[in-house]
Amino acid sequence: MMLFNLSFKIFLRELRSGYLTSILVSLVLAITIVSGISLFTDRLEKALSAETEEFLGGNLKFESNQNTVKSKLQTQVFQDIDFMEMVLFASVIFSEEDMQLSSVKAVDNAYPLIGELELQNKSGKFLTKQSPELGTVWMDERLQNLLNLSYGDKIFIGDSEFIFAATILYEPDRASGNFAFAPKTIMNFKDVDSTNIIQPGSRVEYNYLFKGPEDEIENVRNYLETIKENGDNIEVLSEDSSSLGRTIDRSENFFLLGGLIAVLLSACTVGIASQRFTRRHVSYVAILKTLGMKTTQIRTMYFLLFLFMTFLTLLFGLILGWTLQSQFINLMSSYFPTELPPPGYYPILITCLTVLICQFGFIYPHIIKLITISPMRVLKDDISFDYGFIPVFLMGLAAFLLLLYLYTDQLTLSLIIFFGVIGFSAIGIGSIYLLLGKNKKGLGASGPILLALSELRRRKFGNSFQIFAFTIAIGLTLITFSASKNLLGSWQTSIPEDSPNNFAINITPEDKENMQSFLQENNIQSKPFYPVTNATIFKKEEQNEEDKIDRNFNITWIEELPEQNDILKGEWFDKNLNNGISISDDISDRYELEIGDEVFIKVGEEIIKSYVQSTRTVNWDNFSPNFFIIGHPSLFKDISSTYITSFYIPSDKQYLAADLMREFRTVSVFSIEELIEQVKEIIEQVTQALNSILLLTSLSALFLAFSALQDGFSVRKHQSAVLRTLGASNILIKQSTLFEFTLLGLISGTLGALVAYAGIYFIETKVFETTANFYLEISLMGPLLGIIVVSSLCYYLISGIAKQSPKKLLMQ
């Protein structure tokens, strides 16, 4: 009890004195980041896995591009199996006043196989286990608002008229749907034919859901495997939940690794602050030992002190972490159907483990050294406190590796990152060390500039570490700034102004010419009308499994090489040649198809023999229809197809899109502006989430740099006292220190700008897949930010020194 009271007293005294601030703030930052990320991903995972059965819509799902499965299934007998069929497609839906692209799900009468729908109509909210009545549709709230609909209003899908009967508040089987971001409509399966939407070559997906006992589901699965064709997919509950789990695990690991930078920076700050803490406690421990306290008692006392610190930092860190995850959830709330469930124990566990590893790796080694101090120190204060840098450093490294393993759960990946970070830091600090140059004889105290330069060189190792920390802080701050300001802009500017902003699909051969005339009459430039159909490619005529290229393609046939497609190998179609097909370079690589290779194209029941005539690059971002495989028209004379095209409608002529859709009801026209808006929204949300993590990380880096700076200032304080005693003016000390830190800031800022350029390049090209840009303001802001931040911090620290008399400073 005595030890408890004593260590609590010391803890309170240390808290009040402000000496623990660095350790506390750093630990709170680390806890905030780790708990924020893990709480968020844990709740997300829980929400999804708790509803997996409902999410899938059944115990087994069979996805197919063909609707031939049902007739085959009717020849089979399965016991106790419930079965349902649905078809999914995208279509434009018209109201009296408006129109909107929607992801349509047409369900049969067995829907919903699992769970209940929550709907709302004039009478209020209600639950149902039925499918929509014939001639009626249900829509989600977003679509209802976009089309400005009231219950009972008429809407049009293709050639048919429907009544809007209810708003979907919650639906099971949300895993279905191709156009995840398009608002949802549910209609009755029997109404699909009357719409005339589904034509040859239309993008539709048939889903067959099964519910029943486990072994019978296995029988269904075995049967489905025998009739499964290319492009078909079987999903069962356990696999689906584990794949969902894996996806979330991966994204959690990705975010945690991002957060790990902040944890590591905080841990370094904790290490520096602990070193300072132990230096101050050397005499304290020596006195306690002299007074007869046992080493084990002293160890317990410090252990308790750090336990109090753990509780305090966990309390604040978890509160802030909860706030951070709430912010993430608010940002992305529109994608979550219901409120997320509360988190489990895992986030708390990983956070506590992080704190423990930080303590044992970065605080405890210092305390162990502290406890070894001889009581003779009381009598002879020149007894050196042998710091044993290497074991302390190794303990820190071991803690870092342990944290990596905790976050990634993969030893190889942990080792790669571990050596990567050590290599990057060693190269970074080493380069700065070399950049600062060799020491010259003397302190150069004759003038401020000489003195500053000499100081920069003399404290080369410490300065290199400080510059490195400031570089990371400034680099991350600049990335945060640039991401919030430029990322969206850079994505938008990568789209040319007159790029097509509307796509039209499902154009029947009968509508094709009329539609072309309509566009011409209204001066709308369109891309070519590409015929399109679904096909499978085989390398041999026998169609063995191993020769099949395992996917379906939407292929087209055209004589002209499409824009922004460049031939890499072979030749484009020519009247004088025996023409074949042209494939994209990635298809050529992936399926090892070379020029001249024979291929068999299966369209429906027909098989067309041809060969690879050319490979080409495709620009997928040009808002024109693009194709992996283009055949020569002569090969596809008798193949039925629909057409696809894209065109640009200026903003002042948007009414033309409505006119077009009214005239050609089975054609699906959708504005990409809506999609662009959605992508923009996603980029904005991801950027904000990214910024929160980056901001906290740069705060950790700044705090580390400040701690390192503060640590070096005790030596600086003594030096300035000696120099002033020897007659150096205050101005000389102030000017040289300011000049030294301005230079330090300039170097850090310049290097920080380089780090920011590298980071932004990575985010733009790899994360958001846009083109990389050069932002001039970063090269100006980096050095400026460096100079202002570093010299202000330095001014804050030095002003305290300059105010005191040299005698007082020497006595401290």
Binding site: D382, L443, G447, V722, G727, S729
Partner: protein, 220 residues
């Protein structure tokens, strides 16, 4: 006259009101003379030395150092005076740990922007018998050696007056005796005045003048 002190008083605020550290201290010192300030702990010896050297300011009274009214100067002017006229030796040596012995001794000449500071420093290091250890850092030197470096630095100042605060206080008797010999020996080669705060009676006896402080007042 190198040093003239009239009615010097130093008060500091404490929790229990004002505390008088020095009261009515007056004395003077001629060029080339040496003075020992003695007295028990807490008598105000080091405070007086700090005031005389311009490291701190008095509450009232006058100090003339080399005929300049130290009590009328601000910190920057006092720093200039210290640079030009004053040398120091401290009980705890006060060497800069990041500089070698040679660089520590070069410091005063560098601050004055004198020519060939290295040559001058080498001469004084040689004079205190540390020529062989000029590239050693303070932590590689013994206490006695560190104090010899401090003495070399004090004499490298070309000061008019040298202040030494307990120069043998941190040393064993043998090293202490060697340091006090060195201090007087080198001082006799120059025309410097020497003011020493000390508990060491032998050292005090070697000085031309002595003042003994008790509770902030001169008692003999």
């Amino acid at each position: 006259m190198i040093l003239e002190v009239n009615k010097l008083r130093k008060e500091v605020s404490s929790g229990e009101g004002k505390l008088v550290i020095l009261d009515d201290v007056s004395f003077n010192l001629l060029e080339g003379q040496s003075l020992a300030i003695t007295g028990p702990s807490g008598s105000g010896k080091s405070t007086l030395l700090g005031l005389l050297a311009g490291l701190d300011t008095a509450t009232s009274g006058e100090i003339y150092l080399n005929k300049e009214a130290l009590h009328e100067l601000d910190e920057e002017q006092r720093a200039l005076l210290r640079k030009e006229k004053v040398g120091f030796v401290f009980q705890s040596f006060e060497l800069l740990p990041s500089l070698t012995a040679l660089e520590n001794v070069m410091l005063p000449s560098e601050l004055k922007d004198e020519d060939e500071p290295e040559e001058r420093a080498k001469y004084f290091l040689d004079r205190v018998g540390l020529k062989e250890r000029e590239h050693h850092y303070p932590n590689q030197l013994s206490g006695g050696e560190q104090q010899r470096v401090a003495i070399a630095r004090a004499f490298a100042c070309s000061a008019k007056i040298l202040f030494a605060d307990e120069p043998t206080g941190n040393l064993d008797p043998k090293n202490g005796e060697m340091i006090s010999d060195l201090l007087f020996e080198v001082n006799s080669e120059t025309d410097n005045a020497l003011v020493v705060v000390t508990h060491d009676h032998d050292l005090a006896d070697r000085c031309d003048k002595k003042i003994n402080l008790k509770l902030g007042k001169i008692v003999e």
